[in-house]
C-alpha cells in the first residue's frame, strides 16, 4: 500500500478527468459540468487520503515517488509532500469544486461551451497539484509555465470586453518571469555539476545544501524570485492582476488569485529558501521592504477603486504582501503564518470573488456606484458578503486573523519597523472592505437594485464550505497549523536561522519572581 503512487494518481485524476470531459459532446453541457464536478470531488477525496497517509508518515517529505525520465541528464518525475505542500494541495482540492459550482452558468452569456470551462479548470487543477507536489526543479518549472496556457485561455475566452488585452498582459508578464526563471533553472543545473560529474541534477533532495558561491546564489535566487514575485504578485510587478481578474469571469479570477498565484509564494518557501540560504538571508530586508510596500500600496489603491472586482484584486495584492512578509521574516511564526495565510487567503478571496461576481451578474455592472441598498431585497447575499468582507479584513475569530497575526508577530521579532508599518494595513483593510459594503449594500434601495434576487441554492452551495472553513479554522486552526509547522521547521533550519529569543523569557523563575 505504501508503494502505491498516491501523488501521481492525485495529479492524474483531474488530468484524465479533463480528457473525459473533452470527449463529452458539445451539446451535453450539463453532463460535462457534472462529470467535471465529480472528478474534482474524487480529487478532494484522494487529497483526504493523502493527508491521512502524510499524518501516518515520517520525515520532511512524505509519500515520495521517483521515476527516471532521462536519467543521464538527471531528469526525474519526482514527487513528495511536506507540510507546506500538503496545505496547499488541500486548498486546491477544496477550491476547485467550489469554483466549478460557483461558475456553473458563467460560460452561457459568452456563447461558448461550459464544457471548455470545466476542461480548462481541471487541467489547471492537475498542473497546480503537480507543481505543489513536485520535488524536482525542472518539473516544477515546466508546470509553473504550462499552467499559464489554460489560464490564458480561460481569461481570453470567457472574460469581459477587454479580455484579450488582459489575457495578453497576463501572459506577457508571467512569461517574462518564467523566462528569467528558466535561466535560473539552467544556471542551477550548470552549478549542480559539482554534485554529479557526468551532468547535473534537478532533484530538490540533492540540490539542498549544494555549495554555491555567493554571487551564484544571488543571481540564481534573483532569477527564481523575479518569477515568483510576478506570479504572487508583489509590488511593483502587480499590475497584470487587476486587469486579468477584472476581465476574467469571477470564478476564473477566484481560481487565479486564490490558488494559482499561490504557486509563486509556494515557490519562494519551497525553492528560494532551502536552495539559496545565504541569498535568502542577505536579501530578506529588500524583499521585506517590497512586501510592506505591497501591503500598503495594494490597500490604498483598493480604497480608491470604483470597480468592485478590481478592488478585490488590489486587496489580494495587499494580502500577498503579508504572505511574502511572513516568508522572508525567516521566523517560525512568520513562516507558519505565511503558509496558513496562503490557505486562508485562498478561501477568503475565492469567496469574495464569487460573491462579488454574483452581484455583478445580477446588476450587469462592476461599478460600485451602480449599487446601493441591496441588503433590502437580498439580505442573505448581504450577510454573506459581510462575513467574507470581515474575513478579508482579518477579523479575530475568523481564520484569516490567525495567519495575519502570526505573520505580524513573526515579523516583529526580527523587523519591528516593518511590522509596525504592516499593521497599518489592518486599518486600511477595514476602510476598503466596509466602505465597499456600505456603498453596495446599505442606504435606501435604488430603482436599479429593487428587485434583485437573493442568494440561490447553487450559489449558497458553492460558498457554504468556504464560510464553514473560515469559521472553523479561525476557532481551531491547530490541526492545520501542526502540519504546517512540520513543513516550516526544516526549511528554516536549512536557511540556517533561529528565532530571536524573547527579551525576557517567561520562565518559571520569571513568573514567580
Amino acid at each position: 500500500m505504501s508503494d502505491f503512487p498516491w501523488l501521481s494518481v492525485l495529479v492524474a485524476v483531474p488530468a484524465v478527468g479533463a480528457l473525459l470531459v473533452g470527449l463529452v459532446p458539445r451539446r451535453r453541457g450539463v453532463l460535462a459540468k457534472a462529470l467535471g464536478l465529480a472528478v474534482s470531488l474524487l480529487t478532494l477525496g484522494l487529497t483526504i487520503v493523502v493527508a491521512l497517509l502524510y499524518r501516518a508518515g515520517e520525515g520532511q517529505f512524505r509519500l515520495t515517488e521517483q521515476y527516471g525520465w532521462v536519467e543521464r541528464f538527471g531528469l526525474y518525475w519526482s514527487l513528495g509532500v511536506d507540510g507546506v505542500a500538503l496545505a496547499l494541495i488541500a486548498l486546491t482540492a477544496v477550491v476547485t469544486p467550489v469554483v466549478l459550482v460557483g461558475g456553473w452558468d458563467e460560460a452561457e452569456p459568452t456563447g461558448r461551451s461550459g464544457k471548455g470551462f470545466v476542461f480548462l479548470v481541471l487541467v489547471l487543477e492537475a498542473m497546480t497539484l503537480g507543481a505543489f507536489a513536485a520535488t524536482d526543479v525542472l518539473a516544477f518549472y515546466i508546470l509553473f509555465e504550462a499552467m499559464l496556457v489554460p489560464m490564458y485561455l480561460l481569461i481570453g475566452s470567457y472574460g469581459g470586453p477587454r479580455r484579450s488585452y488582459a489575457a495578453v498582459k497576463f501572459l506577457l508578464y508571467n512569461l517574462l518571469g518564467g523566462l528569467v526563471m528558466l535561466a535560473a533553472v539552467i544556471g542551477l543545473y550548470v552549478q549542480s555539476a559539482t554534485l554529479r560529474p557526468d551532468g547535473g541534477t534537478f532533484l530538490l533532495s540533492e540540490l539542498v545544501g549544494l555549495p554555491l558561491s555567493p554571487q551564484a546564489q544571488y543571481w540564481i535566487f534573483a532569477g527564481f524570485m523575479v518569477a515568483f514575485a510576478i506570479k504572487a504578485p508583489l509590488w511593483p510587478f502587480h499590475s497584470w492582476l487587476p486587469d486579468a481578474a477584472g476581465e476574467a469571469t469571477p470564478s476564473t479570477a477566484a481560481f487565479l488569485s486564490g490558488v494559482m498565484d499561490k504557486v509563486g509564494t509556494f515557490g519562494m518557501i519551497h525553492l528560494c529558501l532551502p536552495l539559496f540560504p545565504q541569498a535568502a538571508r542577505d536579501l530578506a530586508p529588500v524583499i521585506v521592504t517590497l512586501a510592506v510596500v505591497s501591503i500598503l500600496y495594494g490597500a490604498l489603491v483598493a480604497i480608491g477603486q470604483s470597480d468592485m472586482i478590481r478592488l478585490v484584486a488590489y486587496a489580494s495584492i495587499s494580502h500577498f504582501g503579508f504572505i511574502v512578509l511572513g516568508i522572508f521574516a525567516l521566523t517560525s511564526q512568520g513562516g507558519a503564518g505565511a503558509t496558513l495565510y496562503m490557505v486562508n487567503h485562498g478561501l477568503s478571496t475565492v469567496a469574495l470573488f464569487l460573491v462579488v461576481g454574483f452581484l455583478v451578474t445580477r446588476r450587469g455592472s462592476r461599478a460600485i456606484a451602480d449599487f446601493g441598498g441591496v441588503q433590502r431585497p437580498a439580505p442573505v447575499l448581504a450577510g454573506v458578503l459581510l462575513v467574507v468582507a470581515l474575513a478579508t479584513l482579518s477579523l479575530p475569530g475568523l481564520a484569516t486573523f490567525v495567519s495575519e497575526f502570526l505573520v505580524l508577530v513573526g515579523t516583529f521579532t526580527r523587523y519591528p519597523v516593518a511590522a509596525v508599518f504592516a499593521v497599518l494595513g489592518i486599518v486600511l483593510a477595514a476602510v476598503y472592505m466596509l466602505w465597499m459594503y456600505q456603498r453596495v449594500m446599505t442606504g435606501p434601495v435604488r430603482p436599479t437594485t429593487e428587485g434583485m434576487r437573493d442568494m440561490r441554492g447553487r450559489e449558497a452551495l458553492a460558498l457554504a464550505p468556504l464560510l464553514a472553513l473560515l469559521l472553523v479554522l479561525g476557532l481551531y486552526p491547530k490541526p492545520l497549523l501542526d502540519v504546517i509547522n512540520e513543513g516550516v521547521a526544516p526549511t528554516l533550519s536549512q536557511v540556517g536561522v533561529a528565532d530571536p529569543e524573547p527579551v525576557q523569557p517567561a520562565t518559571a523563575e520569571g513568573a514567580s519572581g
Binding site: Q438, T442, L475, Y476, V503, A506
Partner: protein, 644 residues
Amino acid sequence: MSALTTLDVRAVEPVATAGGVYAWTFLLIAFPALGALVLLLGGRRTDRIGHVVGTLASLASFVVAALLFVDMLGRAAEDRAVNQPLFDWLPAAGLQVSVGLLLDPLSMAFVLLITGVGTLIHVYSIGYMQHDPRRRRFFGYLNLFVAAMLLLVLADDYLVLYVGWEGVGLASYLLIGFWQHKNSAAVAAKKAFVVNRVGDMGMTLAVMAMFAVFGTTAFSGVLGGADQVSEGWLTVIGLLLLLAACGKSAQFPLQSWLLDAMEGPTPVSALIHAATMVTAGVYLIVRSGAIYAGAPLAQTAVVVVGTITLVMGAIIGCAKDDIKRVLAGSTMSQIGYMVLAAGLGPAGYAFAIFHLLTHGFFKANLFLGAGSVMHAMDDEVDMRRYGGLRRYLPLTFLTFAAGYLAIIGVPPFAGFWSKDRIIEAAFADNLLVGTCALLGAGITAFYMTRLMLMTWFSERRWKPDVHAHESPLVMTLPLLALGLLSLVGGAAMLWTAGGIVEWLEPVVGEEEHALPFPVWVLTAATLVVIVAGVALAWMRYGREQVARTAPTRVSFATTAARRDLYGDAVNEVALMRPGQRLTGSLVYADSRGLDRAVNGVAALMGGSSGLLRRVQTGFVRSYALSMLGGTVLVVVALLSVRLS
C-alpha cells in the same frame, strides 16, 4: 520546549483549576454565543421566538454568573481566582496560545454587570423593538455582543482577549448600523469600526511586543514577568495598550465614533455605554496593572487622556439638544473619570471599577429612559421639542430622576460614592488633575440638569400630532430595576461583604492615598460645585423659557461644543483629506505611470508596438527570442562568475 515553558508558568501561578461549580464557567459565554448562532443562522423560522431565545440566553448566563458569584463569596480571598483551560488554539513553534478562561474577582464584577444589565436591556428591547420586522436579528446581535464582551473579560491570554475585543467591535458595528437603509446609520457604523481599528493597531502591536519580550501572550507569563522587564519596554507596551483602550472606550483622540453611534436603536446605546464596549478599555488598563506599575510615563499618559476626555465630554454634553447625544457626551466624560482613576495605579484601580459598575447602572437607566421618552414622542430626539413630560411618563420620570441624581453625584445615589472616591484620588495625585475632575463634576451637574429641565419640566413644546404615553411594562420594569440600582447600588457595593475595594484587592492591589486636606472638605467642595452647576442650569433653562429651535447666534465656545470640539473637523483635515489625495494619486499613478512603463517594456520585447493587438502571432516569436536572449545572458553571467 516552549510548550513546556508555558506550562511551567501556568503551574507556578497561584490559580486553582476549575472544578465543581467553576466547571460551568465556559457556559457564561456559551449561552449567548449559542443564542446568537441560532438566531443568526436560523433564518425566518426563528422570527417568532427570536426575542424569547435571545433574552433567555442572556438570562441563563446571568444565572450561572450569580451561582459562581455566590460560590466565590464563600471562598477565601486568595482562592478566588479560577482558571478553566479549554483548548490549544494557536501552536506555532515558540508561540503557544491556548484558549482558557480566568474567573477572578475582577472578571466576576464585569461578568455580573454584563449579564445583569445586559439581560435587563434584552427584556426592555422586547418592547422597544416590537414593531421592527428584523427584531430576531436584533436579538441575535445583542447576544453576540454579550458573548464577545464576556470572552473579553474572561480570557486569560491577551490574544484571546483580542478575539472578544474585536467581537465587541463587530457587534457594535452591526448594531449601530442596524437600520442599514439609513445612510447615516451605515456611515456611523463604518466609522465606529474603522476608528476602533486604529485602536486595534495598538492592541496588535502591544501583543506583538509582549511576544517579543516575554515569549508568550498569556496573562500569567506577561503580568507575572513584568517586574523583570526594562522600563522602556513596559512603557511601549503600556502606551500601546492605552491606544487600544482609547479606541474602545472612546477616549481622546479616538472619541469621535461614540457621538455618531447614536444612529443605532436606543437599547444599543445602553448596551454600548453601560454594560459593554466602552468599559473594555478600562478593563484592559486595570487588568494590565502589572505593566503600568513599571511604566510611570505610560501611567501619566493614561491620566492625561482620562482628564482631557472627562472635560471634553462634559463640555460637549452642554451644547447638545439631542437627548442621546447629551448622554453620549456624558459617557465620554464618565469613562474619562474611570481612565483617570486607572492611571493612578493601585490607588485608583478599585475606584475605576467601582465607578464603572455604578455608571453601568445609571447610564443604562438613563439611556433606556431616553428610549422610553422617544417611544412616547414618535422617535423625536430634540429636547427642544420635549417639555413637561413628567406628568405623561411618571414611571420613566421617576427612574430617570434616580439616574440623574446618581450621575451628578448626589448622596446617597450610586454615583456619589464612586465619583467622590475618584476625585479624592485625583487630588491626592495632582492638584491640576483633581481640579479638572472637580470641575467636571460641576459641568456634569449643569448639562444633566439642563437635560432634566428641558425634558421633564418646562412647558410643552411638542410637535403637533404627538400623543405622549407611558411605555409598556416590559420596558418600565427594567427601568425600575435600574432605577433602584442607581439609588442603592453604590452604597451596597461599598458597605456589604467587605466592600468592593477589598473584593478587588487580590487582583488590583490597594494603596492608601494621602490628601493634603481632610476628606470632608473635598466632599463638601464637590457638593458645592454640583449645586452651583444645578443652579446655573436652573437659571438658564428652569427660570427662562426654552426656545423651540436652537439659537443660532451663540458664542464660539457653544459652536465648538456643538461640533464636538471639532473632533471630526480635525480628523478630516489631518487624515481623511490627505488620505483621499494619497489614494487618488496612487490610483492615478498605478493606472498610468507604472502600467505604461510596463506595457512599454512589453512592447519593446516583442519588437513591435502592434504586439498587443496581434497577440497570437506575436507572442511565440517574442517568447522564443527573449527566452534565448535572456538565457544566454544569464548563463554567460554565471559562467563568467565560475571562471573567474
